[in-house]
Symmetry: C5
Subunit: 75 residues, 5 copies
């Protein structure tokens, strides 16, 4: 296997990590929405925690995306 071929395979594997991070982000919004529909009056007060949790989970997906891009264009 040439180094070029390994870069393409690595980028594809990293893209699996991007998709897995979507599960984490989805869990955050899913449980927030379940709670917000049960007690809408408290939803606004937890909007900050929602954005914080979403950001740190999304960041991991973006890191995997960066690894993909680095494998494709930088290395």
């Amino acid at each position: 296997m040439t180094a070029d071929a390994a870069q393409y395979l690595g980028a594809g594997l990293a893209a699996m990590g991007i998709g897995l991070a979507s599960i984490g982000v989805g869990l955050i919004f899913a449980f927030f929405l379940q709670g917000a529909l049960r007690n809408p009056a408290a939803a606004a007060s937890q909007q900050g925690n929602l954005i914080l949790g979403f950001a740190v989970a999304e960041a991991l997906g973006i890191f995997a995306f960066l690894v993909s891009l680095i494998l494709l264009f930088v290395v």
Copy 2:
């Protein structure tokens, strides 16, 4: 590994993505049905959201299906 062989392997890997998308679609219907059986009077009012969520989740599976087909017949 020849380019032909890699296409077949790639199509098989993409088919794993199709199956994983089925988990997402299944979650949407599972939770809708759980809620609809608990409160059948509200089920009709959420039919639109069900179809919307189903469509966007199914779309991701169809995208993976497209990748499979492209690998098999187009590229």
Copy 3:
């Protein structure tokens, strides 16, 4: 890699699909039992749906089993 070797690897990968189908079948019985223990009087009335859901989920595992057998003995 020879064609024979690829058949053996493919059969092993298909067997992973058999095992994954077991998760689906397990979910069906798990949630049925949870509900039946909560409301035993209604368990008999849902036996038909249980068998139907079990059959279609088990079928997917059997399809993966068939792919394994075909890879091993037919192709």
Copy 4:
């Protein structure tokens, strides 16, 4: 790839199956403990079912462990 190398890779893959079986065993104890903490008076009466479920789930992990050992030392 030599036959020796394939044995080592196969043993590693089988070890992934051992780890996955741990999820099943963990689910059994997790739900038992959740129920036992909610209704401690009934915990003793379900100890037998707990051990039975634990045994059959653990057995699958041990089967995967056996496959690993056979690949490493027998075949």
Copy 5:
């Protein structure tokens, strides 16, 4: 495939185990927080169990991390 190349691939596979251990640690804190928000008065009394569970789950991730490091620098 040379032995060097196999070490790098093995380290990457071990890193998948590190990420999977994060699911276990996350489950522990997720369920603790859900319970603590429902009954804050009891949260302090369960802090010890939380740290114990977190430690043993985190340890498995660190073991996978060690395997990665050994593959990269020791072997």
